[in-house]
């Protein structure tokens, strides 16, 4: 086999694929063939690089050049300029927003500088559809080590010592979970990988499965060995076709190599994995609901105990871990618990993957050590707030989390600090908001999501969240009263206190945290009938500055409801009773005469 001198890595994550990255791969291959270089340069489709803001990403190896926002047409330029002539294609390089300089090497990009990639170690580096690449990065060695050198209890002990906690949201110690499952004896036990990622905007788990599916398979087998299970199930949402594809390929390859199946690596240990598809219900991320869904029952949670470790899938002891949690396992086994628990804070070890989104320059997938501050994430990795606007809040933990403010910027991020601050780690959504975000509307957005996704089993979540949402709507329409604010707080507190499952219990967090941190803004909505961010339409009124208006009639001609009246060359006025606050007039006014009050 010819030895390639150069590797071109093209991101094949869902986001970059949507921006034609597959076409880039085809074009690169075609141009290389045309130049007779197909044996010198290898083109590889990888998983997500994380820097989705600037996708599709193409990375040139070994000189480590990082091209951003590449189009299929750029393939020819890359081959002819970079590969043949050795010149960097400067217009495809990342531009540092701080100083407008091109950065060619990802190592020197602010986005990557503070990241430590454990769960994402192979994402954007290997071809996820080629098990050999995984093996050459040490894939399945941790499994081999467990099977040949460690007893199941040693494996559990190692995971316990590592301090790893569940990455799906709850933060339950993983080693302890395994231990409980291992101690319940049964003829059959199950290992379940929870790949029902449901937070709006979150795609951590999807990226891991798309970029490094073998790490999940390996970790599930390790878990199976540790707890005494021979069957693994991946509960994955059907909306993740690429991840499903890659997992299926990976499972097939692992079986062919004998890394799944009977007598793995001559150890006598049997393990195999099946996929189960979910229809994308948020609540099915809750482990009991997930198990019911897998059993073909209505996807709704049941009261714990009994925990799945005692009575789970088909009534058998079942260990459920999230994708990212599993992705950490092989590294912990290989490098040791001591190595792992040096990263992070006292009670939260290791790293956490976040999906960074919102009004921030560098949107994407990041993996950072626990204990990093929000400031570092937002300003250094995230590159600060878009368009030079001011930071207002950051929402972590998705619909179960809360909004944190400036005063939390220097709080080290870990499970306990986030809960103390009224939010939670959740599965890793992080939405950054600037001054144009209305906190009442943000709370309402999350509540609408919860209402949509509630299973409807318990009263507080089924009716309570609906009422919360209705009260927020009332407030955003300017019909709220101070009594509503007190009732809002009471109801939110009761829901938190009484809901059946973790999702219900955390669903009022967006309301409670915004009430705590942005009380003044709520009061403005109900007392002054004002929305300072200019989001709540009912609380806005448009006004034409009589001094600035020259009477050009552009606004009046473009008003869809005829709310603007005025003589030519005379200042115009808006009939607020008719105005629908669409903003068309502001867009048309060349004189800056129309403003929102």
């Amino acid at each position: 086999m010819a030895k390639y001198k150069m590797h071109v890595l093209v991101c094949g994550g869902t986001g970059c694929k949507a921006s034609q990255s597959a076409q880039i791969v085809d074009n690169l291959k075609a141009v290389l063939a045309e130049k007779g270089m197909q044996d010198e340069v290898q083109v590889i489709t990888t998983g997500c690089f994380g820097f989705c803001e600037k996708g599709p990403i193409v990375k040139m190896m070994p000189d480590n050049t990082f091209y951003t926002q590449v189009t299929p047409e750029d393939a020819r330029t890359i081959v002819e300029e970079h590969i043949i002539k050795g010149r960097k294609v400067t217009n495809l390089l990342y531009t540092d927003p701080e100083n407008n300089e091109h950065v060619s090497d990802s190592k020197h990009m602010g986005f990557y500088k503070k990241q430590i990639r454990i769960a994402l170690r192979n994402c954007g580096f290997i071809d996820p559809e080629n098990i050999d690449e995984s093996i050459s990065r040490g894939g399945y060695e941790a499994l081999g080590k467990c099977l040949t050198e460690m007893k199941p209890e040693d494996v559990i002990q190692e995971i316990k010592l590592s301090g790893l906690r569940g990455r799906g949201g709850g933060g339950f110690p993983t080693g302890l979970k395994w231990e409980i499952a291992s101690k319940n004896h049964a003829d059959q036990k199950y290992v379940v990988c929870n790949a029902d990622e449901g937070d709006p905007g979150a795609f951590m788990d999807r990226s891991i499965m798309e970029g490094d599916p073998h790490s999940i398979i390996e970790a599930m087998a390790i878990c199976g060995y540790a707890i005494g299970a021979t069957k693994g199930l991946v509960y994955i949402r059907a909306e993740y076709p690429l991840a499903i594809d890659r997992l299926q390929i990976a499972i097939r390859q692992a079986r062919e190599y004998g890394l799944l199946g009977q007598d793995i690596m001559g150890s006598g240990f049997d393990f195999d994995i099946e996929l189960r598809y979910g229809a994308g219900a948020f609540v099915c991320g809750e482990e009991t609901a997930l198990i019911h869904s897998m059993e073909g029952k209505r996807g709704e949670p049941t009261f714990k105990p009994p925990f799945p470790a005692v009575s789970g899938y088909l009534g058998k002891p079942t260990n459920v871990n999230n994708v990212e949690t599993f992705a950490n396992i092989p590294v912990i086994i290989t490098k040791g618990a001591d190595w792992f628990n040096k990263i992070g804070t006292e009670k939260s070890k290791g790293t956490k993957v976040f999906a960074l989104a919102g009004q921030i320059n560098n949107v994407g997938l990041i993996e950072v050590p626990m204990g990093i501050t929000l400031r570092e994430v937002i300003y250094e990795i995230g590159g600060g707030i878009k368009d030079g606007k001011e930071f207002k809040a950051v929402q972590t933990g998705g619909p179960s989390g809360g909004c944190l403010t400036k005063k939390h910027l220097d709080t080290p991020i870990d499970y306990d600090n986030l809960i103390a601050a009224g939010s939670m780690m959740g599965s890793g959504g992080m939405v950054v908001m600037d001054e144009t975000s209305c906190m009442v509307s943000i709370a309402k957005f999350y509540l609408e999501f919860t209402c949509e996704e509630s299973c409807g089993k318990c009263t507080p979540c089924r009716i309570g969240n609906k009422r919360l949402c209705e009260m927020l709507t009332k407030i955003s329409k300017g019909n709220g009263t101070m009594e509503d604010l007190y009732e809002l707080r009471n109801l939110a507190a009761v829901i938190k206190d009484t809901a059946l499952c973790g999702l219900g219990q955390t669903s009022p967090n967006p309301v409670l945290s915004t009430l705590d941190n942005f009380w003044d803004e709520y009061v403005e909505h109900v007392v002054d009938k004002k929305c300072r961010a200019g989001v709540c339409k009912s609380l806005m009124s448009y006004e034409i500055d009589q001094n600035k208006c020259v009477g050009c009639t552009a606004c009046a001609r473009n008003c869809p409801v005829g709310a603007i009246k005025g003589e030519k060359k005379m200042p115009h006025t808006i009939d607020l009773a008719v105005c629908i606050k669409c903003g068309a007039c502001i867009e048309r006014c060349k004189f800056g005469a129309i403003s929102i009050k």
Binding site: S454, G456, P460, R467, D497, T498
Partner: protein
């Protein structure tokens, strides 16, 4: 044993006890709503959904549902702290905020668990205004659904799926739109529902109720051209008293007959009479089949299944269409009575069929659907015109300013009013089988049965089996209630009847007809059903004649009219046939 403190009271209970039960043992009653248990009948519904039973457990971050949380050593529980009361009230206010609150017109008013709870918590206004769920009303011939009132306790679902294995009702949709419904939002009448009505019996509110036929009956009574005949089922007389404040288990046979007469029924007869007739037919059929099978006739099937329970009949027609030749072809006592009344008796008193109205008083809701079956009509005129439940009869008595307590004891009219102890016990699980054995034994062996109390066939077990020695011939019988138990036996029979059953009694409802869906609401108190059962056997023991074939009125009608059991005339009037009512899934 686990020691804990509830409301500052030290309590010691067995490990695995819930906080709710531990509190009850200590005399502390934590309110519940969705929680429902029929003690001893394997019916337990504790989804932990309503959150009314939440209590404060020291050291726990949120409130705990008492119904689903097991006690732990040293636990300190507060069931009425300010935090608990606020949460409990808020939860009930939330439920009421999505409830029609039309208590004055609601059929469940006075019997409604939500109403009682709201009253107890002193809820005077609902702080939450917002959208209310609205669903279209739906009805079968027996059950009415008004899902606007549904509180998602899921008791009906548990009953329908776990106990009855009917699978007609389950939760559909998500969040605020979540509701209990047949699949694909089809009408209940087109679903797999068999009208047993147990969903109605357990519904805490007025979401599920019976189809009320009182007005129809009142109208018939008021019509001077109609002769209105009433029959009362065995289980009614041991439960009706509860509606008038009497102790459960009070026997009101005589008072009931008196009340019916005062309501204006022209003839007050007894379904017990036709229960004796049923034993004659069914017992003879059983012996006939055993004879055929012993004689090598491959077309004769054993075991014979009883066919008195219309919920059960619908169930096997829908689920076991390949086994329609197993159940007895004998009509149920209600339908035998109707056929006899509208033929033999109408002729006897010279009333035209169209001018006779037969009303039945039943512990059952499925009887309403049974009465409407096409095969029980002659030229569109049904053998039984209206079937009223025990609860409807109570309402009717109250509506007419009567009080059952004030009624004298009166007898049924003749000739269709005379009955034996064997007929009385039809109301309890195992009763039909015991009655059949009392007769079949003597007919088969031509010997007198000394001990006619078959204790092994009595009691609350969902499945009972016994072998009765018919003078050297062992007869294997089984008695089940709850249709999931029946399903298991049916599947066993389909797989070759390994236990060699000759006869199986099936009743759909818990404890048999005494736990029927038309009976006064028991609200989960199984001791009420037990007391009805005790009363049933007490009534039997007090009867001078306790074997159906010794009922002089039955003997007389065979002599006068039918000739012999399973003869030509009885096949015409007293037997029926079954239909495949399964839903075929068409393959594309």
């Amino acid at each position: 044993m686990v020691k804990l403190t509830i409301d500052n009271k030290p309590v010691e209970v067995a490990e695995g006890t819930t906080i709710l039960k531990a509190a009850r043992q200590a005399g502390i009653n934590i309110p519940t709503l969705c929680y429902f248990e029929l003690d001893g009948m394997k019916f337990e519904n504790k989804p932990g959904g309503c959150r009314v039973c939440v209590v404060e457990v020291e050291g726990r971050k949120n409130l705990a549902p008492a119904c689903a949380t097991d006690v732990m050593e040293g636990m300190v529980v507060h069931t009425h702290s300010a935090r608990v009361i606020n949460a409990r009230k808020t939860v009930v206010e939330l439920i009421l905020s999505d409830h029609p609150n039309d208590c004055l017109q609601c059929s469940k008013s006075g019997d409604c668990e939500l109403q009682t709870l709201a009253q107890k918590l002193g809820i005077r206004e609902i702080p939450f205004k917002g959208e209310q769920s609205t669903y279209k009303k739906d009805s079968t011939l027996s059950v009415e659904r008004d899902m606007d009132k549904c509180i998602m306790c899921r008791r009906c679902e548990t009953m329908c799926n776990k106990i009855q294995s009917v699978g007609a009702l389950s939760a559909v949709n998500r969040g605020f739109e979540a509701v209990v419904s047949p699949a694909f939002d089809q009408p209940l009448s087109e679903s797999s529902c068999i009208n047993c009505g147990q969903c109605v019996q357990v519904c805490p509110v007025g979401a599920l109720s019976l189809v009320d036929n009182v007005a129809d009956v009142m109208k018939a009574i008021a019509d001077p051209t109609k002769t209105v005949v009433v029959q009362t089922a065995p289980a009614v007389r041991v439960a009706l008293g509860e509606e008038f404040g009497m102790e459960p288990g009070s026997i009101v046979t005589g008072k009931m007959a008196a009340a019916l007469r005062r309501l204006g029924f022209n003839y007050v007869f007894d379904t017990d009479w036709s229960a004796d007739l049923t034993i004659m037919e069914e017992g003879t059929e059983l012996l006939g089949r055993i004879g055929k099978v012993l004689g090598g006739d491959k077309t004769a099937k054993l075991p014979i299944f009883t066919s008195c329970c219309p919920g059960w009949v619908s169930f096997y027609e829908k689920n076991f269409p390949d086994m329609l030749e197993y159940p007895s072809t004998a009509k149920s006592p209600q339908q035998m009575f109707g056929a006899v009344a509208k033929n033999y008796f109408a002729e006897k008193i010279g009333v035209k069929r169209e001018d006779m109205v037969v009303v039945s008083i039943m512990p059952c809701l499925a009887k309403k659907s049974e009465a409407a079956r096409e095969e029980f009509k002659v030229n569109g005129n049904p053998d039984v015109d209206f079937s009223l439940s025990t609860r409807e009869l109570a309402h009717m008595i109250k509506q007419c300013n009567l009080n059952l307590n004030d009624m004298p004891d009166e007898d049924f009219d003749s000739p269709l009013g005379e009955s034996t102890g064997a007929a009385v016990i039809f109301g309890a699980t195992g009763g039909v089988m015991e009655a059949a054995v009392r007769t079949a034994y003597e007919v088969f062996t031509k010997k007198k049965l000394d001990n006619i109390d078959f204790e092994v066939l009595r009691g609350f077990d969902g499945v009972k089996t016994a072998t009765v020695d018919f003078a050297g011939t062992p007869i294997n019988v089984a008695v089940v209630y709850g249709l999931n138990n029946a399903r298991i036996i049916m599947e066993e029979v389909r797989d070759g009847n390994p236990r060699g059953f000759h006869a199986v009694e099936v009743m759909a409802c818990p404890g048999g007809c005494i736990g029927g869906a038309g009976q006064p609401y028991h609200h989960g108190d199984s001791s009420i059903i037990r007391k009805r059962m005790e009363a049933t056997y007490r009534e039997d023991a007090g009867k001078p004649i306790r074997k159906s074939h010794e009922n002089p009125s039955i003997i007389a009608i065979y002599k006068e009219y039918f000739g012999e059991p399973c003869g030509h005339k009885s096949h015409e009037l007293l037997h029926t046939h079954y239909f495949d009512r399964s839903k075929k899934v068409e393959k594309e």
